[in-house]
Each structure stands twice: as structure tokens, then as C-alpha cells.
């Protein structure tokens, strides 16, 4: 998910064409860099690094940050309608964490030389991508349970290896994020468990949410390894440490027993324990839907971007006031000297 390049083939080709020719090779430098990576050294902001490493990371970390920020929107939809004060407080705290995660990540990306303003502009203008999962709507309260349990659960599986990713600031941000993330998953599972153990109607609501969120959640890990062209370089640079398919399998293996524990059924007729592999076999994923959502055909794509643009433009007066106040305080300080 966060390590997946969500650009379409045309976008990638365009980006390659716009690269300056003199950037392409510094063979000796690249070899020295690879040696550092192979020795498991962390790379820090001012270190020399291949331009492609910098670009890949800037795209990946900012895409990850955008995902955290946009990820607040489907959950915000339910703050006012949370079924109890306890649930409302928990949901607010979780959403605040997501904002925090976005900010940790923007800071990490900024150390590579792109300003936060540029990254935010890229998101608002539709140039930047974010995780496709947030373009699905949250239509019932059970969706908040499913998002916490499955979406945050998948994010944890993806993010734990990123705590050892080769770029220091990204790895450190991930350590903070991972520490905070496990409450997100547990609160989601608790919502699902409560509904699954409730009335027939509540149980149906939980099962319906699982039915809708299961496939998008396991597609979050990105295309299969055979289709994932950029992965090899990311693995060589140790930005990424496990393949999409490995992580997807890990998530499925740990989630199936959780569903069983609360009496819900994973909506995959092909799901079967494979004794030999000691893993679950599962049915084919609908990648046409995945790429359609990436390209903007998801139910909520437009709503998400509009919500971000509105939040930004409606906050302009706050930023202006803060700047005016800062300037006034600075002038007063000079006058007092």
C-alpha cells in the first residue's frame, strides 16, 4: 500500500521523460551508496544518495502522508453519530492520531528537500496519489469497526517492516506510528465484536461491513509481485523489505482466525487452509476495480479531494491571522528593545 507506486503507466512514462539527462548515472556513487545499504546502514538527510532514491522516497512518504490525512475523512463521517460517548471519544482520539501520523510523515518527506506546501498542493491539485482504500464510503457504524480492524490492521502489517526501512527519518516516523496504531486496530475489532455479539440485525450489519471491506483491504498491499515492476529496486534499496504478496498473505493468515473468533465469515468462497504451506489459500482479486479506484472512479474520490480543498481554503483566514499576530509580536519585541 504505502510502498506501492500508484502512478499509472502513462504517468510513470511522463515522469521519466521529464527527468534531466545529466541526472541518470553516477555509477561509482551509486555503487558506494548500495554498499552502505547492503551493510544495513541508515541513510540520513544530508547524505549523498542517488536522485532516483530521493525521488522514490519523496513520492512514497508523501503518498503515505496524504493517505493518513485523507484517511481522517471516512471516519470523520461518524463522529457525530457514534453510538455512545465512549465510542465518540475513542474515534476522535483515533482521528487525531491520523492527523499526527500525516504530520510526522510530511516532516520526514521534507528532509528530502520538498516543502510541505508543495506536497499539499500536489494532493489538492490531484497530482499526488493516496491509498485507494479511502475512496470507499463508510455507510454504516459497522464500517468504522471494519476500517479499524481491517484497514488499520493491514496498515500495521505494512508499516512494521517500514520501521527498519533504509531512510532514517522515515524509519523513525514509522516507529512512532506503529506504537500508536495498535489501539486503532483493537478499537475497530471491539466494535465488530460488539456488533457480532448483538442482535441479529447488528450481526448482519457487521457481516455486511466485512463483506464490503475485505477485498479492498487485501488489495491495499498492492499488485501481485509478478505485476509490481517497481518493487525490485525498492527491495534492493531496502526501502521495502517484504513483497506485496508476502505481506498480503501475512495479513490474511492473522485475520481469518480473528473473524472466526467473533463468528463472522470472510467473503471468499475459495478461502481454505493449506496444510502444506501453513497458510490460507484465497480467491482471485479484482485488479480492474483496484486500478479504476486509483484512477479516480471510486465512489468517494471527488468528495475526498473537495473536502481537503475546502478545509484548506476555509482555513486561510486562520493562517493569515496567525501570521499577522506573529508579525505584530515580533515588531513589539523589537520596539521594546
Amino acid at each position: 500500500m504505502y510502498t506501492t507506486d500508484l502512478r499509472t503507466a502513462e504517468e510513470k512514462a511522463k515522469a521519466r521523460a521529464s527527468e534531466p539527462k545529466d541526472m541518470i548515472t553516477d555509477t561509482a556513487g551509486d555503487a558506494a551508496f548500495q554498499t552502505r545499504i547492503d551493510n544495513d546502514e541508515f541513510i540520513e538527510p544530508k547524505d549523498e544518495m542517488p536522485e532516483a532514491y530521493r525521488k522514490t522516497l519523496t513520492r512514497q512518504i508523501s503518498q503515505h502522508a496524504h493517505s493518513e490525512i485523507v484517511g481522517m475523512l471516512p471516519e470523520g463521517n461518524w463522529v457525530k453519530r457514534a453510538p455512545s460517548l465512549r465510542r465518540k471519544l475513542i474515534l476522535l482520539a483515533k482521528i487525531q492520531d491520523e492527523a499526527g501520523h500525516g504530520l510526522y510523515l510530511y516532516s520526514a518527506a521534507e528532509t528530502l528537500g520538498t516543502s510541505r506546501g508543495e506536497m499539499v498542493n500536489a494532493l489538492h491539485s490531484g497530482r499526488a496519489k493516496y491509498s485507494t482504500i479511502f475512496n470507499y464510503p463508510t455507510t454504516t457504524w459497522a464500517d468504522i469497526g471494519a476500517v479499524g480492524w481491517l484497514v488499520d490492521g493491514a496498515a500495521i502489517v505494512n508499516q512494521i517492516p517500514l520501521c527498519r526501512t533504509s531512510y532514517g527519518p522515515y524509519a523513525r516516523a514509522m516507529v512512532r506510528v506503529c506504537k500508536e496504531e495498535s489501539f486503532h486496530q483493537r478499537q475497530g475489532f471491539e466494535i465488530m465484536a460488539a456488533l457480532a455479539g448483538g442482535t441479529l440485525e447488528q450481526k448482519r450489519m457487521a457481516q455486511d461491513a466485512l463483506n464490503r471491506w475485505w477485498w479492498p483491504s487485501i488489495m491495499m498491499f498492492g499488485p501481485t509481485d509478478a505485476e509490481s515492476s517497481n518493487s525490485e529496486q525498492s527491495m534492493a534499496w531496502k526501502i521495502k523489505r517484504f513483497s506485496n504478496d508476502e505481506l498480503r498473505q501475512r495479513f490474511i493468515d492473522q485475520t481469518v482466525p480473528q473473524a472466526e473468533a467473533i463468528g463472522l465469515k470472510i467473503p471468499d468462497p475459495d478461502l481454505k487452509w493449506n496444510e502444506e504451506r501453513q497458510s490460507y489459500d484465497f480467491g482471485p482479486l479484482n485488479w480492474d476495480e483496484f486500478w479504476a479506484v486509483v484512477k479516480g472512479d471510486g465512489v468517494a474520490n471527488r468528495d475526498r479531494l473537495e473536502a481537503r480543498q475546502d478545509a484548506y481554503s476555509e482555513g486561510a483566514w486562520v493562517r493569515e491571522a496567525a501570521e499577522a499576530y506573529a508579525e505584530k509580536q515580533a515588531n513589539a519585541a523589537v520596539a521594546a528593545e
Binding site: 544530508k46 504530520l103 516532516s107 521534507e110 506546501g117 523513525r172 512512532r176 496567525a322 501570521e323
Partner: protein, 97 residues
């Protein structure tokens, strides 16, 4: 639209996790002034009782060594092993030394 597009100065944030420990770098925030930087750092980095004291400093005020100078700066220490107690030979049986 505000003049800086909200891209205010970057501040580095240091947190003392508890008394007796030194402040440690935890990350950065953007802010229009020092007071806002402190407030933002509090909101962002201490949501779970991570600290008892915060320092913020505008990143532009930090002078940092260049990784390119690492050899000149840090390698001279490598051949001064006599700065470490293990360099010295002490007869067997001598204690408290």
C-alpha cells in the same frame, strides 16, 4: 490566500521524557512563531504522556556538520585508542583500577 501558503518556518522539537533524562530530538513542526511552535509540538508529540518538558528551535538556527566532512571530523578519534581504559595493561590481581 496567506502570503506563505501556510509553509511557515520549520522548528525542530526536543522532548524530555522525564526528569533526570536529557531532551531528545523527536521530529519537527511548522509554525508562524515560537509560541505556536511550542503549542504545535505539545499537540503533536505529547498525546500519550511522552514528556515533561519541550524545547523548540527554528531549524534555520541550527548549525549542523556536513556528512561530507565526517572523515575529517571524526576519524582522528579512531587512532587514539589510548583514550580508552582498555588500552592499558594492568598486572593481574590489581583491583579498583
Amino acid at each position: 490566500m496567506s502570503q506563505t501558503n501556510g509553509d511557515w518556518d520549520l522548528y525542530e522539537v526536543f522532548i524530555r521524557s522525564k526528569n533526570g533524562m536529557s531532551h531528545k530530538h523527536v521530529g519537527s513542526v511548522h509554525a508562524a512563531d515560537d509560541a505556536m511552535a511550542l503549542q504545535n509540538a505539545r499537540d503533536l508529540y505529547t498525546r500519550r504522556s511522552e514528556g515533561v518538558s519541550i524545547w523548540v528551535i527554528a531549524s534555520k538556527n541550527i548549525t549542523a556538520s556536513d556528512p561530507g566532512d565526517s572523515a575529517a571530523l571524526f576519524e582522528p578519534a579512531a587512532d587514539k585508542v589510548y583514550r580508552h581504559p582498555t588500552f592499558y595493561t594492568i598486572p593481574d590481581g590489581v583491583k579498583n583500577l
